[in-house]
Amino acid sequence: MIATLLAQVSSTFEPPTLDFHALAPEITFAACVALLYLVDMIKLEDGRRLMPGLSGLALLAPLIPIMTLALDGADRTLFGGAFVVDNVALLLKAMFFLSGYVVVLLSTNHLAEGDFWESEYYLMLTSSLLGMVVMSSARDLVTIFVALELLSIPAYLMATWEKRSLRSNEAGLKYYLMGVFASALMLYGMSLLFGISGSTLLTDIGARIAEGNSSTPIVSLAIVLVIVGFAFKVSAVPFHSWAPDTYEGAPTPVTAFLAVASKAAGFVALLQLAFVGFAGRTDVVEPLMWVLAAASMTVGNLIALRQTNIVRMLAYSGIAQAGFILAPFAVMSDSATESLTAVVTYLVIYAAMNLGAFVIVIAVARKTQSGEISSFGGLFGYAPGLTVAMTVFLASLAGIPPLGGWFAKFVVFKALATAGTPWGYSLAVVMAVNSVVAFYYYALVLKAMWFDEAPYGDTSPVRVPVSLISATGLTAGATILFGVFPGLLGHFTGSLEGIIAVLPGG
């Protein structure tokens, strides 16, 4: 019985031809992660000291196949279109690996000096990153969902990593419940999409939706559910309420990871869904995105103005920045290429500058043991290097040339202006006003660092470990480089026509 079944299956089943070069980054990384698990099991407690270094190497090793693929330059499609390796995917993968590397640098001392499980942390971190890397190439509902859960579940655990802290537990629980709720919504939407199109491939779904044969309300409902699910993930208003509590309660390196890598992964999925899957129904996507973007930047900024804790402030600033990243989606039909370029460019630059800000927060908290903005008082007097670096990151987040953030904002403005519609221009004006508001709360930190006196007159120097210094160097270097020579990103984002080509009528 079983034998005949197997024979039947094997006769109809054609093994896919695998392009191992295209999969090399994932394979290398997965092998490294497996090795980490082995090291942990064999060496047990002795392995703790090795883990940060090893996981750092594991994150850097896949950059080699990424480099060779980039030099090769050809777009590769695997598994019947479910997995695509193009220049944008490579850029995003490199961004995830490097962000992960910076997070490892951030975590090393923080974990070793606190009351944490160490080895398991790095295993969770690397597993989550594996999910993000797969997400960069996923063009299929199932692949997207698996990647999303692979990146989310370890992240839920990491948020509670400070076991004996009530806040950390609250952070993890909130993040978990909200995350599962969002996944459920998303899955419901995805099942409807599958029902409409009979396929899980985004290209098929896109083609089917564009035909317009299927009944409209169902399609609209499916699209809205999926987008709302991801709006939770990227913490867009009004689905943002978990973010500040989670960010404040989680250990700060984990917060940096959630705020940058995890959020970027959500945007990557949204990017593929919107531009490949939903391109035929921009009448639903665009107004929804317009509202999400305008609400996120405005509400995020206004609440950020009143924060006294720097991590909460960065959380709300992150919500506002999510609004900026969502803005190009609102004009995706009128300026497709510009919008895609804008989102990808913004994500990469945002990763560098926001991670950088967290590096400094962690470095300063080592001395002050506080997350209050007032604890940054007088930093310029006793730690000018950290002050200048933080100034670079905050000014970049505010969008001041010649730092990376200005170019990120600029490409979004450009996408909105290129659309040339009243909707585009009105969102550009909302964004311009918000950029000014945003500067005010970044300036509160600048003010504390440069103008105020140190609290209690404590001007003993901050001892910054080497790992944090290198993390600062990496992120500050990237922030400045992207600002002065934004063309560096152009090599990758210039080839976005690859994605556009599959758009109906594109």
Binding site: F410, K414, F439, A443, F451, G490, T493
Partner: protein, 510 residues
């Protein structure tokens, strides 16, 4: 030599201060002398480049971009590193190169609290790059980047080294300017998209706008965005309120740079970008700009009369003076714009000088409250005389530079460009002329109260040091400059007239 200047003559002086800033970051804070020497040497090298540029500048074709460089920068948005200098930019570039070394010399032993020459000089170096870059940039995005580069250093300079209300003043300065530039960049992008020119080059955009016949209402809106960006920077009434605060709270060096160069970025933006690219919209806007300009003249002057603080008074006089510059621009004639550029340079030298003196007075008497001062001519006669000469220059006495900024601007309003309401501009002319009387009143009154009479009781028995060596070195070139320009205005008019006439003819056919 000429080849070298053609290739590198603008790039090196623009970027050298930035390199110096990086080098200074690596030198330990304790080595203050080294920092001072590096900063001064850099600014002097830049000034030498200025002299070389002046000597090699072809005065027969001032309307053309000279020493131009055009290389790729951000290809994906079609923005290029395009720099060059013509007769309009040259006076302002030279002004910047001239003022910065003097500011550093003045600072030598006068670093304001909390001292820290390293950080202070690094900020001046970054400012230097930003200011020069804005004047040489011929690409809108490049201009925007340099225009914004000056913001942060000035913010920190006011906020760290400023007076009592420094935090309020610095954030106000920043937010006002940022608001303007955010709308400005939207305007730039709208131009880029609407012309479809695929370029941010200023000259090409001007040609494209002329060729494409974009709807006038759209042009007027785009001009409005630029007006916010440049007008706040000038500053024009009613956006001027950041200026008195920023000037009063800034350290002396900050005030000097702010008055001498930063304000000119706004007026320069009008002459370089807004008018040539959007001439039709400029004609629509000109009456309103003229109106705000004359309100600024009268309001600034009345504001001066009401001030009790010397530095705040000088700041309000800046609002009035920039009003003349804007009136000159609003006439849209070559005569008015020539006067406006002359006014920019003259105001930079004279008001910069007034702030220098105010700083030195503050250092000696620890106050700038006018009613507590008096008898400067008795206690520090040399400084008193220099103050006298500078106030005369500021009120527009013929023979000194201030005259050539104000008088022709007023005269130009008699006969504005074609398409503008002559009666209206003649009314502006009369009001602006009344403004000069008020200017004489507040400046002479200021001089009377601070320099004449006997020193006040509280300072009568104090020994007041007259001029320091650094003050002599820093001030004498300024005084010589505004006296020479006053006696021989042709030096400057000859430099820019060709370029201005050409710009006006191309844009307005006048």
């Amino acid at each position: 030599m000429t080849d070298f200047l053609n290739d590198w003559g603008l790039t090196i002086p623009t970027l050298l201060p930035l390199v110096a800033a990086v080098v200074m970051m690596l030198i330990p804070k304790a080595e203050e002398e080294t920092h001072k020497v590096v900063a001064l040497a850099t600014s002097l090298v830049v000034a030498v480049f200025g002299v070389l540029l002046l000597l090699n500048f072809d005065f027969d074709r001032t309307k053309d971009l000279q020493f131009a460089v055009d290389i790729g920068w951000i290809d994906i948005i079609r923005s290029r590193f395009t720099i060059g200098v013509d007769g309009i930019a040259l006076p302002l570039i030279l002004l910047t190169m001239f003022v910065v070394p003097l500011v550093i010399i003045y600072s030598w032993n006068h670093f304001p609290e909390p001292h820290n020459p390293k950080a202070f000089l690094i900020l001046i170096m970054i400012l230097h790059t930003g200011m020069l870059g804005s004047f040489v940039a011929q690409d809108l995005i490049l201009f925007f980047v340099f225009f914004e580069v000056v913001l942060l250093p000035m913010y920190f300079m006011i906020g760290v080294w400023g007076g009592e209300q420094r935090q309020y003043a610095s954030i106000k300065f920043f937010l006002y300017t940022l608001f303007g530039s955010a709308l400005m960049i939207v305007s730039f992008l709208a131009l880029f998209v609407l012309t479809g020119a695929e370029t941010f080059n200023m000259v090409q955009l001007a040609e494209q706008v002329a060729a494409r016949e974009i709807a006038l209402s759209t042009q007027v809106l785009i001009f409005g965005g630029m007006f916010m960006g440049f007008g706040i920077k000038v500053p024009m009434f009613p956006f001027h309120t950041w200026l008195p605060d920023a000037h009063t709270q800034a350290p002396t060096q900050g005030s000097v740079i702010l008055a001498a160069v930063l304000l000119k970025l706004g007026t320069y933006g009008f002459v370089r970008i807004a008018l040539p690219i959007l001439p039709d919209a400029a004609i629509e806007w000109a009456p309103w700009i003229g109106l705000l300009a004359v309100i600024g003249i009268i309001y600034g002057a009345l504001g001066c009369l009401a001030q009790t603080d010397m530095k705040r008074l000088i700041a309000f006089s800046s609002v009035a003076h920039m009003g003349y510059v804007m009136l000159g621009i609003a006439t849209l004639t070559d005569f008015g714009i020539n006067a406006a550029i002359f006014g920019m340079v003259a105001h930079g030298l004279i008001t910069g000088m007034l702030f220098f003196i105010a700083g030195s007075i503050k250092e000696r008497f620890h106050t700038l409250e006018i009613k507590r001062l008096g008898g400067l001519l008795k206690q520090a006669p040399r400084m008193g005389w220099i103050l006298g000469l500078t106030t005369m220059a500021s009120l527009g006495l013929p023979g000194l530079a201030g005259f050539w900024g104000e008088f022709p601007a007023i005269l130009a309003a008699y006969n504005p460009a074609e398409g503008l309401n002559v009666t209206l501009f003649r009314a502006y002319m009369v009001i602006a002329a009344l403004g000069t009387v008020l200017a004489a009143a507040y400046l002479l009154w200021l001089y009377q109260r601070t320099a004449f009479g006997e020193p006040k009781e509280e300072f009568a028995h104090e020994h007041v040091h007259d001029m320091h060596v650094t003050e002599w070195i820093a001030w004498i070139p300024m005084v010589i400059a505004f006296v020479v320009l006053g006696l021989m205005p042709g030096l400057l008019f000859g430099m820019m007239d060709g370029a201005v006439t050409n710009m006006v003819r191309t844009a307005f056919g006048g």
